[in-house]
Symmetry: C2
Subunit: 503 residues, 2 copies
């Protein structure tokens, strides 16, 4: 124990009461984090020399009383200041102010001084941050797409695989910064278990692991986009794809569709790349027949464009009923295949992959490396183990059965409650694309349905903004139990009847 | 059981031997995945009608013998073809060829036909994919930076947190696609436990979770870069930062350094942004003193530029001995603070964050959303729990002690084996920056040391490529046990003596 000098004793008498704290700016209780605000108050007092170097701090009880905070909050604040070297604790004699460079702390670093820096002027990219879907609140029936479905998530098996990925020897494999590499076990599982389901034979240099399908789209749009290039895009089509092409300043050419997906022919001539969801089209769910796929690849070769095949939701499509992936057909050299791996397991995991020519993969890898180096190693390893143990296959079979049941329930409910309505759906797709009957606006319908506890997505965002289309809704069964579908659609129909009355 | 017709019986006699398989192109055993190649061989045979629709397939034993593969491989191939709907199995009577659209499969979809598409002509961004470090092989001593150190990874506690994040209720939180949101629990833990260590008070709208520090750099370089803008960058400085600025076509101005880091003053005038590692400079480890930090922020305000504070390795720096972060000082409104969260725990996890003005965070969030939506939810939740339970704090204390011991060992070894050499290191940094004495080239030294089982990084990549500097090495203690440092540096000195003899 260090002895306290008489000088220190004198100081401790003057400052120990904590009265100096009451001269501070009061705490802002709406801001939260009272202990950090307490830290700031004490730092400010030190800076303004309201409490000098060498002085003994008030007890945590006195600090708590002076600032009307709990004693625990005061304790945490003092601990932080000790850790920062502003205060030092001496056994049994209390806590003291010591010299510290930290006395220059800003009083408020929350950075909300909007008038100081003109941020919007400085941004060099165009990018709007509009929220696009209402957040899925507690509700009776959500027909929104892409939500997580806890009822089919194989939690026990996934937990087992994460645990296996955390064994001492496995951690050695994924714990390090591998710069730009992928987990070799996951690549191997893709080659031997996943890709054969889609008829694709690939070497490891043809494969890149991505953070969901989204990252595949982004990498391709950056790698092949630019103001000098033209990209064809389905219309209606994927809203995020349109934004990515905007971001890379690519000229976008809307491509017309029919019931077989995008129409092959003149409209694609002159494109450098075309982005297609031919597995089933987003959002119309049209499946491109084999003959058209073959014709498309022939045209791509003749007119020298690149085809980006975006299989955003065809994980469960490999049951022989569907035409094969473009990437498995003759002429596939100019196809870049983008896929999701975690949409069904848990979208929050963010796993996907790209299959392409080795020189495309090498370039995408270099770009991914600059963006964030590599996807998290533990998740890659856990997923690899999940596939290796056969759980992925079993899970897909189960998901197929569940989705199929829901689709049947949905089709029946739509026929019953929206008789004669024009809706599209292909067997296997988790979404339905419905024209809202009787001239009712889709946005008004969605709002009125939400008030009844039913969430649906207006289709406007799949069209060009200028078109201002308000006549379609997209209905998904990806995260709703079958038993609620009938009632959910009934409530939607009631909301629709109300809307029709007001026209 | 379906009865077999006499027609089918006849077919089965003709095709069941598997002789038709031996007419196929032989398997390429260097390519691996023999079962997929077997699938391709059978598909090709069906397409070329060497085995017709309705025929009974040979037994897996006969397939195995015909192709010289194991019976298990043959079985897997047949299973895949059944799953794809090309073959169908009939109880007890065998497996039959049925009609399938898949007969159009490409024979080789590995896409290695380099002559068909001129890929390099199509890439719209400049980006080289040069590998930069030798892969860390099994070796006596690795002084490379950023590798995973299993000896300090808190495996038991991390495993506990991942398990907690996998409870049924937690999975509900992170399993879904949250579009562009961050885990609120992780944000809360950053605000209350991590940021106070650096003196930073932030609201949740000031924070974005990123995939490591790297993603923070990328987002900033995209958001503020462009051919019309000028960015200041330390020289020598971070190689990836230079590449990112190249990628966004930003004009780069090299900024001169001294022992206090970047020199404040004229050289920054006219910059739109400056990218600084003032916590300690990469690679020289210079720490910017408080007075210079204050002067820097004053100049930023006067000359109206943005300061990007990249704290790539200051997680363990918050012990009061160091000047406060720029983001905690008056004038911090124009500071964008980039940090890593997983460098010490396990770089493979890829976790980091950015602190900035809300309008900057909103824009970065919109861009991140296009790139990959959000960081994987399970890792965010596990890390949040790790911090919440106090494990992060304990871990940092332990890492501090371990790193400190290693730094002492390194300094002692350098003094002993490279007496009089010019090396720099600041207390707390995991790296040392050494000028190679006696005119020996750094690359030659690294190669010669590697032959002795010692890995070091030549410093050339931190300088402009045109400078062709070959006089520095970077030595890290981030993943080497203290007991090997002395010998490792001794071997390095031996390699150096050999090199000096040859001059």
């Amino acid at each position: 124990m260090e002895s306290t000098t008489s000088e220190q004793r004198k100081l401790s008498r003057s400052w120990g009461s904590g009265r100096w704290l009451t001269q501070s700016q009061p705490l802002d209780r709406t801001l939260g984090n009272l202990h950090i605000q307490t830290v700031q108050i004490i730092l400010t007092a030190i800076k303004q020399q309201r409490i000098p170097e060498g002085a003994r701090m008030p007890s945590t009880r006195a600090i708590a009383e002076s600032l009307c905070i709990s004693r625990n909050t005061a304790k945490r604040a003092v601990e932080i200041l000790i850790e920062q070297g502003v205060l030092a604790s001496r056994d049994r004699s209390g806590t003291y102010v010591i010299t510290s460079p930290h006395q220059e702390f800003a009083e408020d670093t929350s950075g909300d001084h909007d008038d100081i820096v003109d941020w919007p002027r400085r941004f060099t990219i165009k990018l709007n941050s509009e929220p696009e879907l209402p957040p899925a609140r507690s509700t009776y029936a959500s027909f929104l797409y892409g939500q997580f479905d806890a009822s089919i998530f194989p939690i026990g098996r996934w937990r087992e695989c994460e645990r296996s990925a955390l064994s001492v020897s496995e951690v050695q494999n994924w714990g390090k910064d591998v710069v730009d590499e992928d987990d070799p076990l996951l690549i191997e599982q893709l080659r031997s278990e996943v890709l054969p389901r889609h008829g694709i034979l690939a070497r490891s240099e043809n494969i890149l692991i991505t953070l969901g399908g989204q990252q595949g789209r982004y990498l391709v749009s950056q790698l092949f986009g630019g103001s000098e290039t033209i990209s064809g895009m389905e219309h209606p089509g994927m809203p995020d794809m349109a934004r990515m092409l905007d971001l890379s300043r690519t000229q976008v050419r809307p491509l017309a569709l029919d019931e077989g997906g995008v129409i092959v022919g003149d409209q694609m001539r002159g494109c450098d790349t075309v982005f297609l969801t031919c597995g089933h089209q987003c959002p119309t769910t049209a499946v491109m027949p084999l003959e058209r796929r073959t014709a498309l690849l022939e045209q791509a070769c003749r007119d020298d464009f690149i085809v980006v095949e975006d299989t955003f939701e065809t994980e469960i499509f490999a049951s022989g009923k569907y035409p094969p992936a473009l990437k498995s057909l003759p002429g596939s050299e100019r196809v870049i295949h983008i896929a999701s791996l975690s949409k069904l397991i848990a979208p929050g995991l963010r796993m996907g992959y790209v299959i392409a020519h080795p020189s495309v993969i090498a370039k995408m890898r270099a770009l991914r490396r600059l963006i964030h180096r590599h996807p998290p190693g533990n998740n890659q390893r856990a997923l690899a183990i999940f596939i290796e143990r056969g759980y992925y296959r079993t899970f897909l079979r189960r998901a197929q059965a569940v989705m199929s049941e829901r689709q049947d329930a949905m089709a029946a409910a739509l026929r019953r409650h929206f008789p004669g309505a024009d809706w599209r759906h292909c067997d296997g797709a988790s979404t339905f694309w419905m024209k809202v009957p009787d001239g009712v606006g889709a946005k008004a319908l969605a709002a009125s349905a939400a008030a009844r506890g039913v969430l649906v997505e207006p289709g406007a965002r799949y069209f060009h903004r200028e078109d201002d289309r308000d006549d379609y809704v997209r209905l998904s069964v990806s995260s709703i139990v079958a038993s609620r579908i009938e009632n959910g659609i009934r409530f939607l129909a009631e909301a629709h009847r109300d809307g029709a009355c007001h026209i």
